[in-house]
């Protein structure tokens, strides 16, 4: 059976992003698609998760049927989810936590995105339609993490492009995104421009380009996303 042309689910996007993890990596996951990445850690790999509200090296999120037994308001992640302890976990205050972030001690962060520009500018904190937004820790993570992955649907529900020459939503940070993982493509941000590394099964480079405002560089080793 040949590949059927479709868009990746959020879970498949998270699975693809998990291929960027490496053993011992210190990782901070944003809210939304990024949170799902923690469910797809490659077997045998140790990831040290960081949450900006002051914990490192914690375990999985408490599931719905574990709440009565395990939930504790004094053990949450940045999305407000209950998390579980692991041996070697540690706690620290907010100034230390953001020292880790700005100081370059976080290997990888995965952030949700509303728009990303050709140069890797990220916009993810304010929907102009709402008029107000929360900055939270996103600006610090975008500026400070060694590698920034933007996770997003390639276009909006109404089909508007989100990978643009210039973002028209208020920015989170300039020139910060290293890799964009969408529901149809994996795109690397380079000095030369956006390089289309991978496309979803059934999609062609031309079809991805048609939904991307800046010109995509198509390398000879362009691949299909695989899991």
């Amino acid at each position: 059976m040949g590949p059927t042309k479709g868009k990746l689910t959020r879970e498949l996007m998270a699975m693809r992003i998990s291929q960027e993890l490496f053993d011992g990596a210190v990782v901070n996951l944003g809210i939304g698609i990024p949170t799902l990445v923690s469910s797809y850690i490659p077997e045998g790999m140790t990831i040290i998760f960081h949450t900006q509200n002051g914990a490192l090296g914690f375990g999985p999120v408490v599931t719905a049927d574990e709440v009565a037994e395990k939930a504790d308001v004094d053990l949450i992640n940045a999305g407000g989810q209950y998390i579980t302890p692991l041996p070697g976990m540690c706690f620290f205050h907010h100034a230390d936590s953001f020292g880790m972030i700005r100081g370059g001690h976080i290997d990888l962060t995965v952030l949700g995105a509303l728009q990303v520009s050709e140069k890797g500018d990220l916009a993810n904190w304010l929907f102009p339609a709402r008029g107000v937004g929360n900055i939270g820790g996103g600006m610090d993570l975008a500026v400070g993490a060694k590698k920034v992955i933007a996770a997003m649907e390639h276009v909006t529900k109404n089909g508007e492009l989100r990978i643009l020459k210039e973002c028209n939503y208020p920015l989170t940070a300039k020139e910060c995104v290293d890799l964009i993982v969408t529901d149809i493509a994996v795109i690397e941000v380079t000095r030369e421009g956006l390089v289309l590394r991978e496309h979803a099964p059934g999609w062609t480079a031309e079809e991805v380009q048609a939904l991307t405002e800046p010109r995509l560089i198509i390398p000879p080793d362009l691949k299909e996303i695989s899991f």
């Binding site: 509200n53 308001v73 939270g136």
Partner: protein
């Protein structure tokens, strides 16, 4: 003998005045939030407050609980300084959001790491600092920008307060504090940054009963301690340590 223990939350906030600047320890949700001090402040009814915190309350991330939202409902807030001031759900705006949009409350939105560092700077005697966070965004408006070691940075000023309302797990009578899990968040740095720091704690013990190596907030940063007498109905296993011992 120094004894910083105060008998009631009302007494602990008795000298909070109209126009005061107050920090609230917290990240989001009930953990690490001084809920009883906040309620006592609402009861006291002082007005024109400037409140500083990660959120401004009522963000809807976890189950409803009393937080800074009750101060907005009681029209006590003039200005809020926060990194996450609005509800996570646009269809359920927080009291803060409504009052900011109506022009009734002034908002200063600050990236979370910059907020933490501004608070720390105030407590540590640093006047201002340069940070790369916010360059090229709305945050840089009106701020001095400099290139330091080849990187653009913004000048950010220390952020002190008249009062810090903080939450900790255990205190001794000298005010030395330890925290529990992610309850810690902004609490230790806020304790350093206010003229008067008031800590709400689960347990108060004699001096010497807390391991000096484990103390997170040294007692000189804390002026008053109040014991929580009634636990809120939130999942919280106080008898259980987060320290998972391996065999």
């Amino acid at each position: 003998m120094v004894n910083k223990v105060v008998g009631s939350f009302e007494e602990a906030v008795a000298d909070v005045f109209d126009g005061a600047t107050i920090m609230f320890g917290n990240f989001a949700g009930p953990g690490g939030f001084p809920i009883n001090l906040c309620r006592a402040l609402r009861h006291k009814g002082v007005k024109n407050l400037t409140i500083i915190g990660n959120t401004a309350g009522g963000i809807g991330l976890t189950t409803d609980f009393d937080d800074q939202a009750i101060l907005f409902e009681n029209r006590q807030v003039k200005k809020v300084i926060a990194s996450f001031p609005f509800s996570i759900s646009p269809s359920r705006p927080s009291p803060c959001e409504k009052q900011v949009l109506a022009g009734e409350v002034e908002l200063e939105i600050v990236p979370q790491g910059t907020l933490a560092e501004r608070i720390r700077a105030a407590g540590y005697g640093i006047g201002a600092f340069y940070t790369p966070t916010g360059v090229g965004t709305v945050v840089e408006k009106g701020k001095e920008k400099r290139v330091i070691n080849g990187r653009e940075m913004l000048l950010e000023y220390a952020l002190p307060a008249d009062f810090a309302f903080i939450r900790a797990f255990k205190a001794d009578k000298l005010g030395n504090l330890v925290y529990r899990g992610t309850q810690r968040n902004f609490n230790p740095i806020m304790a350093t940054a206010a003229r008067i720091t008031i800590a709400e704690v689960d347990e108060i013990v004699e001096a010497g009963e807390i391991d000096p190596e484990a103390i997170v907030t040294p007692g000189i940063f804390v002026n008053r301690i109040v014991k929580v007498t009634k636990q809120e109905d939130f999942p919280r296993h106080l008898e259980r340590s987060f320290w998972v011992k391996t065999a």
